[in-house]
């Protein structure tokens, strides 16, 4: 009885290496069989209620003190001095938050913003974002801002206002204002009503060439590639002239 039981639970010295060998062979076979392309992830941000709560829990006063580091490029009133730098005045807080997260994760490239975003803590980001989303638009500018630029020519304005209000159903281009406001917003989508022309054009071209690829489910890469060169210029001029403020504005 005693000997039998002992034999039943006896453990061969060779069993472990053999088992390890079987596991290694089986897993390598599985890896070979499976389609092991790495997933291309545009951004690690996912708009769950927890993410939105974390991004909008900032202290705007602390953000105001921190945002003085941003003044040099983005302007003391949120209007940048250089037109290729985005205006941050009244920008949706989730939009700035997402871009800073993407810069930190190197999903969007910028020689300036990547190191800056790495130096910010999650609390700093939430605070700065809260400040810029509450910043009022001053009617009497104190610094020489780049916005608004001169009015676009009427032909361009017509193209742009049609795309912004109605899109192009034939080509499957949705209207800009259904995501970028003022008609409707999605989480993380920037408001374009007070954005610089040069910046809008640069970003449309970067999306079309896929140099910028941090949009979730690639809506902007798709739409920017569908737009013609002329339409991209028209849209940039229209938004840069401050005409994107009214819903459905036509000329």
């Amino acid at each position: 009885m005693q000997r039998n039981r002992h034999r039943r639970f006896s453990f061969s010295v060779w069993r472990l290496p053999r088992l390890a060998g079987v596991i290694v062979v089986a897993s390598s076979l599985l890896l070979l069989a499976s389609d092991n392309r790495p997933d291309r992830i545009p951004s690690y941000v996912s708009w769950t209620p927890e993410t939105i709560a974390a991004a909008s829990a900032g202290d705007a006063f602390r953000g105001m003190l921190l945002a003085r580091h941003c003044d040099h490029c983005h302007g003391a009133e949120g209007f940048s001095a250089v037109a290729s730098t985005p205006n941050l005045v009244r920008m949706d807080k989730l939009a700035i938050w997402k871009q800073l997260e993407d810069f930190r994760a190197h999903k969007r490239t910028s020689r300036v913003m990547e190191p800056i975003s790495e130096s910010l803590s999650p609390r700093d980001v939430a605070d700065v974002v809260a400040y810029y989303s509450k910043l009022p638009v001053f009617t009497d500018p104190q610094d020489n801002r780049s916005f608004p630029q001169s009015r676009p020519d009427p032909a361009h304005a017509g193209i742009a206002s049609r795309l912004i209000s109605f899109g192009d159903g034939e080509r499957g281009i949705p209207p800009c204002q259904t995501c970028h406001g003022p008609v409707a917003y999605r989480p993380g989508v920037p408001s374009l009503a007070t954005q610089n022309a040069d910046y809008v054009l640069n970003q449309l071209e970067a999306f079309a060439s896929r140099a910028r690829a941090n949009d979730i489910n690639e809506p902007m890469r798709t739409i920017a590639a569908l737009l013609t060169e002329d339409e991209r210029h028209a849209l940039a001029e229209y938004y840069g002239a401050g005409l994107g403020l009214q819903p459905g504005s036509s000329k």
Binding site: D35, R37, D39, R40, I41, P42, S43, Y44, S46, W47, T48, F166, G167, D168, G169, G172, I173, P174, P175, T178, C179, V183, A184, R186, I216, N217, E218, P219, T222, I223, A225, L226
Partner: protein
């Protein structure tokens, strides 16, 4: 039969009852989900992992020649915007929504696939005639609904290229 055996039997029966109970009360059991191959997806995290990451979208050709098309519907786009399929071959369509309820229809055919957030819609489709079809959304999904449409290119079977894994989405280049 002593009382320990009765106790063991009772516990076993109770534990076995838990399995149908999880099904009846629709309790999420990750192991069962894994074994069944679930149709549930997280609409907010499609881009992070799983079947609908962006380099997996588009037309996939299996080693046996079967064709699978994966798409995402989102306000107000179908992604990818253009799909390439061979004519006369059964196409397995897998589509899910990232936000609202959409409906993918194919002009010139009577196919309509309802797309709901959180679930994968499966459909077996076949396009006998080569050509270009518009794929509009037929479920009102918001302010830009009328502009939500994408394109389907059906090419003769002989002209359908052997797609490499990185070429799934680029219909325009064909």
């Amino acid at each position: 039969m002593n009382w320990q055996k009765v106790r063991t039997l009772l516990i076993t029966v109770l534990l076995l009852c838990l399995i149908p109970a999880t099904r009846y009360y629709q309790i999420d059991v990750p192991l069962l989900r894994f074994l069944k191959g679930s149709r549930q997806v997280d609409p907010l995290a499609l881009h992070l992992s799983g079947e609908f990451v962006e380099n997996n979208l588009g037309t996939e050709q299996g080693p046996d020649g079967s064709v699978t098309v994966r798409m995402i519907a989102q306000q107000y786009l179908f992604i990818p915007h253009c799909i390439l399929v061979p004519a006369g071959v059964p196409v397995h369509l897998r589509i899910t929504s990232a936000d609202a309820v959409h409906s993918l229809t194919f002009n010139g055919t009577d196919y309509a696939v309802k797309v709901l957030p959180g679930t994968i819609s499966d459909a077996q489709l076949e396009f006998p005639h080569p050509g270009e079809y518009q794929m509009p959304c037929r479920e009102f999904c918001g302010a830009g609904h009328y502009a939500m449409r994408s394109e389907l290119k059906v090419v003769p079977r002989e002209q359908f290229p052997v797609l490499r894994p990185e070429e799934r989405g680029n219909c325009a280049a064909q």
